[in-house]
Amino acid sequence: MKFEDVELGDDLPVEHPDVSMERVVQFTEAANQKFPRFTDHEAAKAEGLPGALVPGIMSQALLATMVHRWAPGCRIVKLDTVFRGHVVVDTSVTIEGAVTDTDDDTRTVEVDLTVTNAQGRTGVMGTAVVSFD
């Protein structure tokens, strides 16, 4: 995809990323954050959580990965994410994005991104600035 192909208001293709326990354990090992609240449903519940949680930085990284699939070869310059609510492991999660600004001078676009949990509540929201060099 080129900068010229992007229009204000464009929606990124909706995705349902793999947040199974197997995948989350794989991530926590890569992130050196193998804590029970991320990898053990019972341990997480004992902490008062609804179940093992998808780490916030994993949700953030999944949003970046979605941007790469939408615009192969693009370069993410900034990615700011707010962790609003729980995203639980082994549940159905939806990630979405929409183009909210374009800049002809810098050839960058701004994309608003969300991670929605199985109950339809926003778990993570963010904004990416994406460069098309």
Binding site: P17, D18, R23, Q26, F27, E29, A30, A31, N32, Q33, G56, I57, M58, Q60, A61, L62, A64, T65, H68, R69, P72, G73, R75, I76, V77, K78, L79, D80, T81, V82, F83, V124, G126
Partner: protein, 147 residues
């Protein structure tokens, strides 16, 4: 008399905003780069194919690199509990296989905000990463919310 979480906050800001409190070094290996990208289901060859001409770490790679301390040793305990408010990453030069990253941790900002659940204090820890060539590769801001 009840105490407000913002009591004395101006003094805390004056004392701690801008203070650098830790330095950490990270070696970037092919194994670590691939483990991160593959755990995300990444398919862009720049991040999963070491033979790609532009092979580099995933843009969120630095978000998991943490200093020994999250906040300075004598930083005051604000409120009675805390939650992770999120991270912001700004990227400059790509992180490459074999890089040695040096990161400086600092208290970037301290500010109050009032919402439905009352007044909270945001403490932003900033890690600034440079490579062995002295180039800034990334800045990661971590918002910690105290209430």
């Amino acid at each position: 008399m009840t105490s407000d979480i913002t009591d004395g906050l101006d003094e805390v800001k004056k004392k701690w905003e801008g203070v650098e409190f830790d330095l950490a070094t990270f070696e970037v290996t092919e194994q670590k780069m691939l483990a991160w990208a593959e755990a995300l289901g990444e398919q862009d060859p720049r991040f999963i194919d070491p033979s790609h001409r532009d092979f580099q770490a995933h843009p969120t790679f630095c978000t998991h690199l943490v200093s020994r301390r999250i906040l300075p040793e004598d930083f005051p305990v604000l409120g009675s509990s805390g939650i992770d408010g999120g991270k912001a990453i700004e990227l400059h030069v790509p992180v490459r296989c074999g890089d040695t990253l040096e990161a400086v941790a600092a208290v970037a900002e301290i500010y109050p905000k009032t919402g439905r659940s009352g007044t909270m204090v945001f403490v932003v820890q900033r890690m600034s990463f440079t490579n062995q060539n002295g180039e800034t590769v990334a800045t990661v801001d971590w918002r910690m919310i105290r209430n």
